[in-house]
Symmetry: D2
Subunit: 338 residues, 4 copies
Amino acid sequence: MQLGMIGLGRMGANMVQRLMRAGHDCVVFDNNPQQVQALVDQGATGTTDMADFCVKLSTPRAIWIMVPAAVVESVIDQLEPHLKADDVLIDGGNSYYQDDIRHAKRLAERGVHFLDCGTSGGVWGLERGYCLMIGGDTDAVERLDPIFSALAPGFGEIERTTGRTGSPSRAEQGYLHCGPSGAGHFVKMVHNGIEYGLMAAYAEGFNILKHAGVGRADHASDAETAPLSNPEFYQYDLDLSQVAEVWRRGSVVASWLLDLSANALAADANLSDFGGRVSDSGEGRWTSIAAIESGAPAPVLTAALFERFSSRGEGDFANQLLSAMRYQFGGHHEKPTS
Amino acid sequence: MQLGMIGLGRMGANMVQRLMRAGHDCVVFDNNPQQVQALVDQGATGTTDMADFCVKLSTPRAIWIMVPAAVVESVIDQLEPHLKADDVLIDGGNSYYQDDIRHAKRLAERGVHFLDCGTSGGVWGLERGYCLMIGGDTDAVERLDPIFSALAPGFGEIERTTGRTGSPSRAEQGYLHCGPSGAGHFVKMVHNGIEYGLMAAYAEGFNILKHAGVGRADHASDAETAPLSNPEFYQYDLDLSQVAEVWRRGSVVASWLLDLSANALAADANLSDFGGRVSDSGEGRWTSIAAIESGAPAPVLTAALFERFSSRGEGDFANQLLSAMRYQFGGHHEKPTS
Amino acid sequence: MQLGMIGLGRMGANMVQRLMRAGHDCVVFDNNPQQVQALVDQGATGTTDMADFCVKLSTPRAIWIMVPAAVVESVIDQLEPHLKADDVLIDGGNSYYQDDIRHAKRLAERGVHFLDCGTSGGVWGLERGYCLMIGGDTDAVERLDPIFSALAPGFGEIERTTGRTGSPSRAEQGYLHCGPSGAGHFVKMVHNGIEYGLMAAYAEGFNILKHAGVGRADHASDAETAPLSNPEFYQYDLDLSQVAEVWRRGSVVASWLLDLSANALAADANLSDFGGRVSDSGEGRWTSIAAIESGAPAPVLTAALFERFSSRGEGDFANQLLSAMRYQFGGHHEKPTS
Amino acid sequence: MQLGMIGLGRMGANMVQRLMRAGHDCVVFDNNPQQVQALVDQGATGTTDMADFCVKLSTPRAIWIMVPAAVVESVIDQLEPHLKADDVLIDGGNSYYQDDIRHAKRLAERGVHFLDCGTSGGVWGLERGYCLMIGGDTDAVERLDPIFSALAPGFGEIERTTGRTGSPSRAEQGYLHCGPSGAGHFVKMVHNGIEYGLMAAYAEGFNILKHAGVGRADHASDAETAPLSNPEFYQYDLDLSQVAEVWRRGSVVASWLLDLSANALAADANLSDFGGRVSDSGEGRWTSIAAIESGAPAPVLTAALFERFSSRGEGDFANQLLSAMRYQFGGHHEKPTS
């Protein structure tokens, strides 16, 4: 079937390619003519004019928006005058689910369906397919089924969950209608919150392995650190790249994120290209806020989020106050950074 | 080659089977004659007498101990008089790495090699193979290579890590000589610490999804909870079993632990067979202690550990004191449990 | 000067008494005639009719609202038709500072000033005075100065902060104009967030002291817990009531919250009147949300909040999933609750 | 009575002065002759020779050791040959309680009593007195009562705990016999653990106040941070020095640590003398380890400890791995530090 794609960044462009490979017909829009042309060269219909884009799509239209969360609102503003009843708009980016609820209400007034679709897969999705978490009207979801189905990874060779039988459900093909408006991005939000926790678990673990030699005489010791109680037990020099590799096979902690860690550590076990200032994109924050608002304890996910803040120096003033208190009650001077 | 196995519980018995399938010759010992007989029926040589066990093994012996950590010491006590120079002892259980260092020193005095081997794989290892993390003398590790190789999963069909070439290393076959005495169990300890963090990340995430309907009128509300600020945003009734399923394909959070969660949720999305009193086996504790002793921050792994303590009521007195303070300063009465 | 007080609960009634003791003239309103009468008996002018209340106040009016956060909006709705330009409304409850900003804008349209005032002091404020954190127009704050001054504790006998000289500032008398609309409740919100952290620090500490005897033979051991590594180091039977007492004098952890803990433990060192289901009132949540939104790491304050959620069973499903995963990968059965 | 003091650093020297003011007779030892002379000038008997020190003390001796934890063992080694049955040794430093148990056993073999005494008070103790937490034999504690009593703050003007009557107990005078060997340092250890939690609660809270202006146009924005959702709610410019001051009077968070924070912020609200690399002295670590070993959840205290580790860069590798994973799955480049 025909799909219009707005936003031809890494994600959007790859998704168009995956759809065309599956035989779908794509009309693409971006402000950047080069990105449009690149897909036109591969068989898409393209334009840098929003009105023209809407004209090129046959009604009822199916339009997928793949832009940064902060831009979605203005894209809808531009699209709205051109839309007609029964058109379907899908926000496939990392939007806040509360915005979806608002957008869906607004567009419903003119009979336009709005779906929210959490899309996981990153740069790997073109080949592996995208895991899709969808919210909104059942009718609209049904109409778009061929598109979702083509983007999703499919049943693949993954071992079937115990107890599941019969022809594979959509979930088993990698896409799911989660519930009404916002449900897709709600599930995607929590997905990313979990991702933060998983990533932090590996990061902390490898950091402990990295510290396994702090008792060695040749190990740079930090004058500020409390003296190590049992140096004889911290004498190891572990090869983190090999450890990541061995865990990929048969261990309980095997995962795709571990595979990626193994890639990174194989390239450089010291990770010296990275300074350790870790960004966060919004969904980790929203997950913790949802946990707080709904009263669900989430200490692990939230600690993972706060570690990212701290990595960017956002806790510095708190640390300065700790040093200042120590100076006040004990006359302790901060040791120089050397 | 020939291997002696002490301890024929779920892990030990499965490992013997996997070794015999690979053509190795196993002599087995357990205090329980039925467990010995079960393996004898499959071709093992068996005994319930420790001296006899040592006689049945040709020297230099290779003996694998697969018993609870608390029992290892007494098994070594029983074995020691029967051992000779050049024998190799492997502790394949979940022992504390600091005990390994002690055991290795003690046995070295009579020329016996002691290897520590962290073994991951659980009940699935018989078919999938065991991920092995080994510490100790290089010579002894080399001598046992056929055993480790047979127990490990092998290279398998897992996609190769970017940049790795040539014939697969041991790590790529699922076993690794991590370093000197204790290094194997140190790596396994951190592996389990990470596992606690990963498990908690999924558990907290699914719990947030479970709370996504707290704003619904039909949802049981708890009189003690602060009133929900934005009930209109917590109106979902998500199918957790389907969510777990869809994440298995193409998403960033795919992992073996997620596969297991999907199994459990497919069987019963309410998990009503489980009361939520979560045990911990020691290694999560040791990981956090290692983090503290070596000065490596591990807030996520440690929060995961403490959640398990709390799940067993170990934080009750702290909570009582909080309620008592609230009563003292604000006259707040605890609401009844109903 | 004259002040109208709406809401004669524990806080409101005590504040009226403190104001009348200082010579101020109070007009009081409550839906409950008995609570009105109790203060009329002490010299206040009273009414249960909102219109009448506004008539009894001379213009420009000064009205203090002391009601639950959830009721503030409807009180303003009732008051608004009776208000005139230059009247001042103070919300002295535990409102969300973002609501203050909204209320102030709305009332400014008819020339009414809206102040937000975080009020700390609990049931002890009548005698000790109330710590006041105020937000809003400088003019209105100045006009109400006699009221704030009378409610605040005053300079008292507290040792002066190093470096402060001259006549005591308002802050040194226990009240502070923090900034524009919402600033008072923002500071009060963070004050309560800190309070959650402080309370949790004491609660966890006393709980560790309570666990100091887990190695004793007479101590009830929990079959689910990992066996204690070093029982010989956990043989104490500490008198928590005495420990709280000794810390009150000369120690670094002395505080008012410790005084309250000492009161509670002196009454019953087992705190058996309390079940340990700890409520939270909203401000702890808002503090953590503010931390997340503004990118300030707050792992301690947020962990304290989540402990309260867990104390009410809100983490149970997460714990059930942990047990379910353990069963899946290791065949571990949850131990019975006994 | 007579007391020998070993170690004339800030703590030891002040304690000798406080004892002499109370009429006690002090014999002092230090390797540094200047520190000995300073106290001799004030009336103490002094020496830099350990044997001479023991000779100068009348038997049975009472000797207080006030040296860094790492030095205690060697001081005992030097003292031991000179000691006789019935002598009492007090370790008043910040030693690990498990070492006390060992030391007490060793010295008991020659009839020497060993007391452990946690001492809180810092540089303020000379004037305010020291809060003392004592472990060991009851007889020895009784014999030393005059010393403990003189060091402790005494009943003072602190309001009595509700329900306490009669003549003040030792705890009400600021010293407590907590239990057998190690109990004093165990209680002091947890005291310091709580202190870490309290300090972190204030530090995080003030840091949130510091972030209250992140939505202002004039506020330096960090390119790496997720865009602020609601900038209109983060427009404040709060005077942290004034906030600390106002909380000192009548608020729930009043405490000695807040007084110290007020001192520091009054001197420089930007705390620019401090870099924020926060040391830890051992007791916070031991508290968290005790929590883990005894199964008592302590997420707040442990998060506070880990924040200190992170402040010293000990989490950098973990953060680098997070950035590396983000690069792997999403092609995300770390933003430059600028």
